[in-house]
Symmetry: C2
Subunit: 505 residues, 2 copies
Amino acid sequence: MTRNPAEVYAELIRRVREIALLDSCASLLHWDHQTYMPPRGSGHRAEQLALLAGLAHQQATAPAIGELLAEVEGSALVDDVRSLVAVNAREIRRTYDRATRLPQTLVQELARTCALARDVWVEARSTSDFRLFQPWLEKIVALKRQEAEAVGYSGVPYDALLDDYEPGETTAHLTALFATLRQELVQLVGEIAASGKQPDLSILHREYPADRQESFGKAAAAAIGFDFEAGRLDVTTHPFCSGIGPGDTRITTRYNPQDFGDAFFSIMHEAGHGLYDQGLDPAHYGAPMGRAVSLGIHESQSRLWENFVGRSRAFWEHSFPRARQIFPDALRDVSLDAFYFALNDVRPSFVRVDADEVTYNLHILLRFELEQALINGDLMPAGIPAAWNDAFKGLFGLTPPDDAQGCLQDIHWSGGGIGYFPTYTLGNLYAAQFFARARGDLGDLDQQFRQGEFAPLKEWLNTKIHRHGQRYHAADLVVAVTGKPLSPRFFLDHLRAKFGPLYGI
Amino acid sequence: MTRNPAEVYAELIRRVREIALLDSCASLLHWDHQTYMPPRGSGHRAEQLALLAGLAHQQATAPAIGELLAEVEGSALVDDVRSLVAVNAREIRRTYDRATRLPQTLVQELARTCALARDVWVEARSTSDFRLFQPWLEKIVALKRQEAEAVGYSGVPYDALLDDYEPGETTAHLTALFATLRQELVQLVGEIAASGKQPDLSILHREYPADRQESFGKAAAAAIGFDFEAGRLDVTTHPFCSGIGPGDTRITTRYNPQDFGDAFFSIMHEAGHGLYDQGLDPAHYGAPMGRAVSLGIHESQSRLWENFVGRSRAFWEHSFPRARQIFPDALRDVSLDAFYFALNDVRPSFVRVDADEVTYNLHILLRFELEQALINGDLMPAGIPAAWNDAFKGLFGLTPPDDAQGCLQDIHWSGGGIGYFPTYTLGNLYAAQFFARARGDLGDLDQQFRQGEFAPLKEWLNTKIHRHGQRYHAADLVVAVTGKPLSPRFFLDHLRAKFGPLYGI
C-alpha cells in the first residue's frame, strides 16, 4: 500500500459519515413512527427499518473499514491520544469491533421485531394487558441475549449491553455505586415522609389548557437556548429527543390539561438533550468527534436543565409571573412558595417519568436489577409483572394498581433498550457534578436564572462538553471538566441542600 | 446455471422489492421535508436524499439484477404476455435498462441539487424573485439534458424525460393530441366569455375558517373512500400525495380562510391519487404488478374525483346541506345553484392549480412547449420569465402580474420534474374516458352521488384499474377498460355537456 495516510483517513471518515447518514434516515422514520405515521403503516415501517438497519450494518462491517482503520492506526496521524484523528480512530475501532461481532440477521431481526413490538406495547399499556406484550418481550430478551453473547464480555452478559449505551461502564461498578445511593436515598425518603410536611399538590392539577402548556413550554425551551429554526416540538406517547442531524433536532412531549408538570418538565428535559445535539460540532458530523459521549452524559444534560435549572427556585422567581399570565385561572391565588414546593413534592409514586428528584433513582435501581435477571436467565419475561411488583413493594412500600403503572410504563424494552436505564441514574450523578463545577466557574447562577439569563450556562456546557464530541469517555470527561472522578456525593449533597430547607430536615 | 426458475424469479422480486423499500424511505424524507422539517434541516436532508438515491441506484443497476432478469426472460415462466411474471419481467427490464444508462454521479447530483433547489424555490416564489431561482433551474436543466442524453431517445431529447413519467408516450403523439385540444378549448373559452354569464364568485371568498375547511375536506375524502387509518392529511405549500407504502398514503393541502375551493378541491384531488395508492395490491408491493401504471393514469384518478365527482351538481346536492351546517355564516343566503355555478366558474386565470376544467389544459400546453424548448436548448432558463409571459398572453390574453403567479408558481422544476406536466392533461383525458365507461357500467352515478354513495365507483376503479398494477401500459389500459384507444372526444364532450347548460351556449 502506498496510499497517502491523509487520504486513507479521509476515506475512512467518508465511509463512517455515510453510515451515520443512513442511521439518521432511520432516526427520522422512528420519529415519524411515533408522531405522525397512520396506524396501518406499521408493517411497512418495520420493513423499512429492518432494511436500513441491515444496510447500515453491512456498511459498518465492511472489511474496507477494517483495512482503512488499521492503516490509520498504524500511521503517524495518531500521535496525541486526545487528537482529532486518534479519537476518531479509537471510537471507530470500538464500534467496528462491536458491529463485526453481530450477525447481519440478528441486527435486521432486532430492527424488525422492535418496530412491531412498539405498537403492541402502546396497545398493551393502554389496556394494561401484559400478556399482549409478553411474547414480544420474550422475543426481544432472546435476541438481546444473543447480542450479548455475540458481542462478548469479561464480567457478566449484561455488561455487553450496557457498554453499547455507556462505553466502559460495568455492572460491577454500577452495583457498588447504586448500593451507596440506595441506602442514602431510602434514608432521605424516610426523613421526608417523617417530616409531616406536604405541599398542596392540587394546584398543579387545575385546568392547564394544552395549547397554553405548549406555548409556555416552547417559550421556556427557547429561553434556555433550544433553536426552533433547527428543531421542533411534537406530541408522542413517550417524550423523547431525536437528533436527526445538523440543523434538525426534534423533541416531543405529551399534554395532560389537568397536570402542569408532566409536559413542562419533559419539555425541559428533552430540550436539555436537544441542546447537546444542537451543540455538537457539525463539521465533525457522523464521526466520533461530532457525536455524544454516551447516554449517561446525554442524560446529564437533560437532567441538568430539567432539575437543576427547571426545578430551582431561582428559575421560578423568573418564570412564575409568566406562568400566572398564561394560566391566570389556575394560578391567581397561588404563591411562588406554594408553587415551588408543589413542583418539588417528594413521595413514592408508581411512574418513573413523574417521579421527583429523590425517588427517581429508586425506579432505576429496580429496572437495573430486573434487567440483569432477564439477561442472565434468572427471570423469565412471564415473571416480570410479579417480580416488578415485589421489587416495587420492597423499595417504595407500595404495589402498582396495574401493569400500565407498573412494568408496562416504559417504552424502552419494546425498542430493545435493555441496559439503557442505568444511564438515567448516571445522568443524574454527572449532572450534579457538572452543575457544582459550573456554579464555581460562572459565579452566581441563581442570580442569572432570576434574570432569565441562561446563555452563560448553555455556553459553558457547549464549550466544556458538547464540542468535545467523543474526545473523552464519560469517566474521563467528568475528570476533565470537574477535576474529580464521578462521585455520588455531589448529587446527594444537592438533594440535602435543596430538600433540607423545604422539608425542615 | 442449474437454478430453479421459480427461485431465480423470487430472488429477482426480492431485490426489486428492496429497492422499492429504499425508495419509500426517501419518500418519507421528502414528505417530511415539505411538512415538518425545521428550516435549518435542509442541508442535512439533501445529504440524506442524495445517499438514498445513490444506494437505490446502485442496487437498481446491480449486474445481478440483469443476470436474474435474463434468466427469467428466457424461462418458461414468461408465457402469456399479461401474466404476472411476464408483466413483472417486462417492467423490471424497462426500469433496469433506464437505470443502467444513468451514471451514479448524475443520479446523486440530481437528488442533492433538487433537495436544495426546493427550498430556494419556496423563497423565490414567496418573494417573486426569479433571479434567486435561476441558477438552480440552470443546474437542473443541465442535469436533465444529461439525463436525456444518457437514457437515449428515438425522436427528440424530451421523449427520454417524458418516458420516465409516461412509459411509451412521445412528444410527437402529444403534439398532435394537444393541437386538437388547444383549438377546441380556445373556441369554448371564447363562447363562454361571449355568453356574458358569470357566477357570483364572492360567495367562495367569504370567511371559511381553516379548521372547518379541514374537517369538511377530511369528511369528503373519507366519504369517497380514503382510509385515514392508512393515511393522513397535512399542510404544505404545494399539495401532493405520497404513497409511502402499504397502509401509509399521505395527502396534503393548504388552507386559505378566504377561499373555499383551494383546499377543498386539492383534498379531493389528492384523495383521488390516494385511492389509487391505497387500491394497489399490497401482495405485489415493490414489484411492477403492485405499482401505478404511469403519472397520466395516476392523474386520471385524481381528476376524476376532483372534477367528475367533486365539481358535479349531484355531489353538491348531497354535500351542500353539510357545507351549510359547517359554514353557516358564509352560506346562509347562498343557493345550491349559485354555489354550484361559482365552483364551475370558467375564466382565464394565472395559476394552474386554481384553474377551471376548461382553461386548465391551456396551462399545461404552455409548460409543454417551454419544457421542450429548455431541453432542446432553444430557450435558456434566463429567458423563462419573458417566454412564459409571452406564451401566457398568447393563450389567455393576459400578462401575469409577477413571476410568483407566472413561471415560479409550480414546484415541479425545482424537483427535477421536467416532462411531468403533460401527464396532467393526459390525466384529464383518461379520466373523461374512464368516467364515461363507469357511467355505462354502473347505472345512474348521479343518483348514487346524490345519496352520498361513492363505493360503487371506487370499487369499479379498484377492480378495473388499481388492482392491475402495471399489467398494461396506459395506452393499452384505456383500451382494456373502455374498449377504445385514448381520444380527446370524451373530455371535450364532457365539457360541452356540463358547461353548455351553465352558460347557455
